[in-house]
Symmetry: C2
Subunit: 416 residues, 2 copies
Amino acid sequence: MSFEHLLSRAGERMQQSAIRQMGTVAASLPDVISFAPGYPAPETFAWDDYRTIADDVLSGADGTALQYGPTRGFGPLLDTLVSLLAARGITSTVEQLQLTTGSQQGLDLVARVLLDPGDVALVELPSYTGALTAFRNVMASLVGVRRDDEGIDLDHLETTVARLSAEGRRVKFLYLVPNFQNPTGALMSLARRRAVLDWALRRDLIIVEDDPYGALYFEDTTSPDETRPIKADDRDGRVIYLSSFSKTLSPAFRVAWVTAHPSLAARFETAKQALDLCTGNFDQRMVYESCRRGVLDRQVPKLRAFYQRNRTVMQEALRERLGDRITWAIPRGGFFLWASLPEGVDTMKMLDRAMRHRVIYVAGSPFFVDGSGQQTLRLAFSFVQPARLVEGVERLSTAIMEELETIPKLAAKQEG
Amino acid sequence: MSFEHLLSRAGERMQQSAIRQMGTVAASLPDVISFAPGYPAPETFAWDDYRTIADDVLSGADGTALQYGPTRGFGPLLDTLVSLLAARGITSTVEQLQLTTGSQQGLDLVARVLLDPGDVALVELPSYTGALTAFRNVMASLVGVRRDDEGIDLDHLETTVARLSAEGRRVKFLYLVPNFQNPTGALMSLARRRAVLDWALRRDLIIVEDDPYGALYFEDTTSPDETRPIKADDRDGRVIYLSSFSKTLSPAFRVAWVTAHPSLAARFETAKQALDLCTGNFDQRMVYESCRRGVLDRQVPKLRAFYQRNRTVMQEALRERLGDRITWAIPRGGFFLWASLPEGVDTMKMLDRAMRHRVIYVAGSPFFVDGSGQQTLRLAFSFVQPARLVEGVERLSTAIMEELETIPKLAAKQEG
């Protein structure tokens, strides 16, 4: 029995996330060290605090804690978000906020409220695959814009939009992850942030700013000022800003949020009603109480130090084992180290070899909408304990050294 | 600043849920008795059990409890669902299951994987507004089919599909809530269930069977056999079956599921990746442990008795206060009593009067895709305590009596 003839066009085309596929593969292998998923480290979670909070929330004194809740979100949590955003330089009222079931739902809301089939969403080369999938699933057209050391390449952005406009295409927004981007870990410069906001104003386009990692800057290289969101300087409400508690409290709570112009926030609320009615009230209480009781404030400095140490361990191991055979920019925050191998290496093909050495990563090409990036890969240092980080880099190095040896042979074979 | 020109066509058209709007209105009124939302009663929740379970899940012994999880769902919970479905007569493998963040997400998945703009979804007259909204939001066309005492009217179904086919329309599925339907509370007869499945086979269409209330039959009128899902007799996998823990454990956990043909379940998994990556792992553990430790099995008989008593209290109060001025079919399970008032009453207009008497309900017309149902209304007896049920019916009766008095006057005015 087949139901292919009854699928929607979007349903036919939907693609598996490359990252989650690799996670599934990795889970089925024994003793594999996985640098693939961008998971927070569970040993950092505030287990004791959460136990106490859950006990209080589940006392039964407040029946609404386990009830359906408002689509916008739990009122006191929305108020908390207003304060939390203010600390990031962002002025937001409750009317501008929409709670989401993880930031992935925020991306889906953006896609559904803004994108018609064929509309263009501009994305970085490379860009976060979860966003790419959300935009593709409404049959939007994704057009890539190059990056340089400071962030999005404004010249390429302008020529791209000029070309698309000349072709009569409808460009809706530019999607950016300015703080410790997934996958590159890169931090966009403040000057570039201001420039891209000016550009969006001139072009009358929306910026979708995704900021799950902003709080997790590494104090050895980066000051909090450098993570100032683009949204903080947004005067006319054209930046849609997404952030989340998944990387700071726990991804299991699925609590994130969007702040946007009130007219857009109202659309997100309406759209969300049909998506899941409301984000789980129990999870929202857990998060709210974690903020109110200072758990979040106590966690974040610890997390900065924790992930910075992991970053350093991975980086030193890579340098020691591989020298200049691979290159990367030092991650100044977040979860990821983005590496480039010599031209000719195909990291997607190299995965088999890596898996034989019981190590796994995410190949870079799925992050590029233009089909490039074959020689890149993403390594998450967030989730693996230091001794295993070193062991994993050793395995990866062995795989890379073997792979590099095959390249001249391949070339010779083609000549022969 | 306006961003209307950047909205998608779906985004422009999205409609607020009538039920949730009324919930918002009600929440802002002092001392209002609300029969509007289909909420479970929080005093029935297993608070003590949940506290114990949360304490164990949050011990920190299993780090994955607060981590991202597989998109399909937490493995042991999927296994539990296989058993739970077997008890309902449904054979399902894990490959046929997809966990969802509430059943609303299941409806959204169905919409996105099956419906292109303009495709037809057949729905009952009346039908659940959450489903209507999910289908409308992908710009599907909703066509209503009449019901009779036994359920969907097969003759009207056949003539409707024949007409649509002749017009070249693509009909994808029929959406049904056979057990204690929202909004009517009606139970579809077993004969009608078999007949509609045969019909779907002949017409090569899918049935989307939504069953959140099946476990909550009232033992004074109904045996469990009468709630046998259509899916239990589905031989070729053309029934997509949705169910949920929202009405039996808690809606705050947002844990529900879909079982469908493996090829469709795989599409739902892919689609869900872009919706929210995964349903919250903490919530899934809470639900899994509630099943494993027998909380669900202990809860369900209590809930049947609890809601049956509420139904009886409401019904007797209505009969006493209003006699034959309103009519309804006795609810044999679920949360709702569906009432019809005399022709000429518009329950949407009557809401203002009801609110002046500090009582609220859901007007019937939003449940009808053909614009009918003006004289109907939905009363949820699930959420209000018995003394307040009686008080609420008194207020409602006063409002209705007043409204009925205006009808001949209105008629006289039009004649004059």
